[in-house]
């Protein structure tokens, strides 16, 4: 497949006072795909988005969005992007309709087109009824949806979503995911930051794991998971079993030493993840006279990836959150 990067950043460096927010970040996003910047608070994700959306000038490095340099041609970049910032940026004194219409007009739509677009998007985001009320009175979820709608008013080909589902309930998260999938299907390029590994796993074609302002790993979700090792087998037996019984029975199927816990009721071992593995394991244990309550072959999650890379779970603070 020919590469066609819509977002390209090279060696981005940004310091705020004593805080090194970005320390040489490289990011490339192909047209019509989702790239997720994954990392804990303070990893530099928001700063990276601020640079790419022309709100911050990097100290070092360069970036192009939709073919335009973000420092040299910010006005051209702004015509191509939609942005949902981490903090909701709505005018609380305007109604939902007025907010979207204003943003549409400031994006270059005519008054009439902006009004039509506002109505469409409010309907799309289940805000038609609330559209006539001032945004100050909206619930957190409604404000986030309005914010997301605002970033789509001008139908931008490139979308930046900075933690778009932080603080949302599961239903609203699923809705946002659905919208992102629709957009990508229509050819929109999306850069999404998140602390949620399942979100990156679900939406992103490629994931860049960010820590201390640098990319510490990059690849498809599957590649990243493979890099921390293969799948693991988890078995729960009905009764205690000795190591002498279990280990020979599982030997043909596991790739490493099985780990026994709870007096031998719980078994965990690295495996290849071949087809039919669970059936083979159950048969082997049955032949050894062991009753199986539960068996699972689990692929590593991005949580495991992050832990393997940084030695700490996602969600833990690794530094000061850079607000500015």
């Amino acid at each position: 497949m020919a590469t066609h990067p819509v977002i390209e950043a090279e060696g981005l460096v940004k310091r705020y006072g004593g805080v090194q927010a970005l320390a040489g970040l490289d990011v490339t996003v192909e047209k019509g795909t989702v790239l997720s910047l994954l990392g804990p608070n303070g990893a530099g994700k928001t700063t990276a988005v601020r640079v790419l959306t022309t709100r911050t000038v990097p100290d070092c490095g360069s970036a192009r969005v939709a073919g335009y340099d973000v420092v040299a041609h910010p006005a051209q970049v702004r015509r191509k992007i939609g942005v949902t910032a981490q903090d909701v940026t709505m005018d609380g004194l305007l109604t939902g309709v007025q907010n979207l219409q204003m943003i549409g007009e400031l994006s270059g739509l005519s008054r009439r087109d902006a009004a039509r677009r506002a109505r469409e998007l409010l309907e799309r985001f289940d805000l038609s009824e609330a559209g006539g009320r001032v945004a100050k009175g909206y619930s957190g979820g409604m404000r986030r949806r309005l914010d997301l709608a605002a970033s789509l008013v001008a139908s931008p080909p490139v979308l930046f979503l900075d933690e778009p589902t932080t603080g949302l309930d599961p239903t609203s998260r699923a809705e946002v995911w659905g919208v992102v999938e629709d957009l990508v299907a229509q050819g929109v390029t999306v850069l999404l930051t998140t602390q949620y590994l399942d979100e990156a796993d679900r939406l992103a074609k490629r994931v860049v794991v960010v820590d201390h302002g640098k990319a510490i790993a990059e690849g498809t979700p599957a590649e990243l998971k493979r890099s921390v090792g293969g799948a693991r087998l988890h078995v729960t037996l009905s009764a205690h079993a000795s190591r002498e019984t279990v280990v020979p029975a599982l030997a043909p199927y596991v790739t490493g030493d099985p780990l026994l816990s709870e007096g031998g009721r719980q078994i965990s071992a690295p495996v290849n993840g071949e087809r039919g593995l669970a059936t083979l394991v159950v048969r082997a244990l049955d032949a050894a006279g062991l009753l199986v309550d539960d068996v699972e072959v689990r692929q590593p999650s991005l949580d495991d990836v992050f832990f393997a890379l940084t030695g700490q779970p996602v969600g833990e603070e690794t530094g000061e959150e850079v607000a500015a």
């Binding site: 006005a75 910032a85 204003m102 605002a150």
Partner: protein, 285 residues
């Protein structure tokens, strides 16, 4: 949920030419002006600045001060004070520009604006234009209340309108000055308190409510050179209302209209570029 085309290629949003044209900038100013007018209508504080306050000030000063005030030559205090109340109301409500901008900067709205292909300065221009429109409403309220309590202009309509024009021009200039205060302040509240410290002496150490004739001489010098005095004096002249002068007037006392216009234009020439500079600095990191 209905299925709506979310990613149509928007030919209509491509603006003519690479640099935003003058028309596009004017449109941004109109949009921002409309936004700020909605704010004024929804914020009881801001609305009362242009409705309740002028009524209150006019009635209070005409009846309370007017009852004990005798002017040289026996002129009517109502006729004397109304032009002063016009400028005083406009001067005090001009602080709304600075406070409003400080509020804009303290919430996330400006962050959103920075990602849009809009003319950045339209945030400032739209704000000052909206405040100019509300100042016009304020002037009309003062005039109506004035007519109700017995004020009558002595000159023809055109001259009276020119008087309002001079007062509004000055209030527009002052709005740019308070915009600078708002952009320098860290919080909307501090913009408000700094504003009061600047605005109140400006409004009161002047000829707006009492003639400068009997002030101590050092204070009279300050009052005579105060732009508020020049504006008030020229409004009095254009309205055809009494304007008692000291015997040996300084230049601005002798030429109030010239002084008022010079003050206003000079203030805009200095404060507008400075406000744009401050706004760029506040929104760049």
């Amino acid at each position: 949920m209905s299925t709506v085309e979310l990613a149509i290629t928007a030919a209509s949003r491509e603006r003519v030419g690479f640099l935003p044209s003058l028309a596009a900038r004017a449109k941004d100013v109109v949009v921002m002006t409309r936004r700020n007018l909605v704010h004024i209508l929804r914020e009881p504080m801001q609305l009362s600045d242009v409705t309740v306050q002028p009524v209150l000030f006019t009635v209070l000063f005409v009846y309370v001060f007017g009852s004990g005030m005798s002017l040289p030559g026996g002129a009517s205090y109502t006729a004397f004070v109304l032009p002063g109340l016009l400028t005083m109301n406009l001067v005090t409500s001009s602080m709304g520009t600075g406070v409003g901008l400080a509020q804009d900067l303290s919430n996330g709205m400006v962050e959103r604006f920075r990602t849009l292909p809009m003319w950045r300065a339209s945030v400032l221009v739209g704000r000052t234009v909206a405040d100019l429109l509300s100042a016009a409403v304020c002037s009309a309220v003062v005039a109506v209340v004035g007519l109700a309590v017995g004020w009558r202009p002595g000159h023809a309509l055109l001259s009276v309108l020119a008087g309002f024009g001079v007062a509004l021009l000055f209030s527009y200039a002052l709005a740019w000055a308070t915009a600078c205060i708002g952009l320098l302040a860290k919080e909307p509240e501090s913009a408000m308190s700094v504003g009061f410290v600047v605005i109140f002496p400006l409004a009161f150490v002047s000829n707006a409510l009492v003639p400068t004739l009997h002030m101590p001489s050092w204070l009279r010098v300050i009052a005579d050179w105060n732009p508020v005095s020049s504006v008030t004096a020229s409004v009095r002249d254009l309205f055809g209302n009494p304007n008692p002068l000291p015997l040996h007037g300084s230049w601005p006392v002798e030429h109030p209209l010239g002084a008022a216009l010079i003050w206003s234009v000079a203030l805009i020439a200095v404060a507008a570029p400075f406000a744009s500079f401050l706004f760029r600095r506040r929104t760049t990191d």
